[in-house]
């Protein structure tokens, strides 16, 4: 991922800052600059999500792209944030700990790096909530 493309979404990736359409009330994470329901008549503002959510579905990735190959097996999940939107993220837990319906919360982790000399991509993952 290029330097500027990673940088552009740092507040979103680090702090779960998405958006909300104040016209219809719908929340978006990942963020959208256009509400699919209201489109041009929707007023969009930033919204910081709490980071609490529930696992909708998951898998254990055992064969990954080059960038993630040495971190397998890892749990990949679709997580529904309490505010409504769903996102895709890794869960930092052992594969056997993952369950549909599990409560999770966000943590700050190193997602990937652009090789040994490139920029480190930090972002949000989730861990099981006790």
């Amino acid at each position: 991922m290029s330097v500027s493309r990673f940088w552009r979404k740092i507040p979103q990736r680090y702090n779960l800052i998405g958006t909300q359409c104040t016209t219809c009330g719908r929340y978006f994470f990942p963020p959208r600059s256009l509400c699919p329901d209201c489109r041009r008549s929707g007023k969009i503002v930033d919204h910081k999500f709490n980071g609490e959510g529930t696992v909708v579905t998951y898998t254990v990735v055992r064969s990954a792209s080059d960038q993630f190959e040495n971190t397998t097996p890892y749990v990949l999940a679709v997580i529904a944030l309490d505010e409504g939107p769903r996102l895709t993220s890794q869960i930092a837990c052992l594969p056997e700990e993952a369950k549909i319906g599990m409560r999770v919360h966000s943590v700050f982790r190193r997602i990937a790096a652009d090789g040994e000399s490139g920029v480190i991509h930090y972002g949000t993952k989730f861990v099981p909530t006790e």
Partner: protein, 350 residues
Amino acid sequence: MVGIYSYGVYIPRYRIKVPEIARVWGANADDITRGLGVFEKSVPDLDEDTATIAVEAVRAALRRRTVDPRAIGAVYVGSESHPYAVKPTACTVGEAIGATPNMTAADYEFACKAGTAGIQTCMGMVKSKMIPFGIAIGADVAQGAPGDALEYTAAAGGAAFVIGEGETIADINHTCSYTTDTPDFWRREGQNYPRHGGRFTGDPGYFKHVQGAARLMLDAVGTSPKDYDYAVFHQPNAKFPQRVAKMLGFTTEQIEPGLVVPRLGNTYSGASMIGLAATLDVAKPGDRIFVTSFGSGAGSDAFDITVTDAIESEGFNRSAAPSVAKLLANPTYLDYALYAKHKGKIVMQK
């Protein structure tokens, strides 16, 4: 009075036991455990580093007590394992807590006392009214060369202290330091692992500087060890802090809550700060805490701290983040091979 407004700690969930490391190098596990007083040490997950540990520690501090991010005027991260040699960990931390852009930041290095140096800087900036709040973090993914004595204790973890004035949970009555140019333990630029002077790290290193700063402090404040409820010393192993406590006149009971190294290992820049955090986890209003850190190179920072009523007030929620004891409980153990993979000790195809 300037002091601690909130604090937070992060320790990864993984551990490796000292006997498992001894097994690989053909050493006697019992001798090592007995000699160091350390049973196991923390290991970072594959996606954790000093920056992620630092962020989690600060976020824990901010869960205990709300601080307006706009009022955070400075962030200093002390570490021996900053992810970048050039590009401050403090900037990433500042961004991850929403304190940017109106703040100053920098990374510190002073071996195991880089974090406490950050506390001193924040104290000065807050006391002089340059900033309302400053955050000092000591965090490390400590490295010890394979087969070296340091490998048994080099651990991962960090602590963050929010420094402010008025309404503090613990006042820092006084701080002083003792610093010399002493090559007891070092790492040259570009080298993977630190080197050390063996037994030279003891008396000319740790003991001289810890005692130097401690005695300066006791003189300056006009106290003696019995005036304190607790004492926290830098803990590269369990023996050094136990010995220096005795040399200074502190008791085993005083240092007990702050002695985290047996089950944590040495988190380098996080070490004394996590020890202080563990003490604050159990401290009550009025308790007085004596802290002396040590960083090779060499130097020690001493602090005289009095816990205030605010630690039990509604404004501060100690249980909003896990205590050090909680973070040390129920770890997941790794064998040496996975440990080596987690610590980046395996030579990969570049």
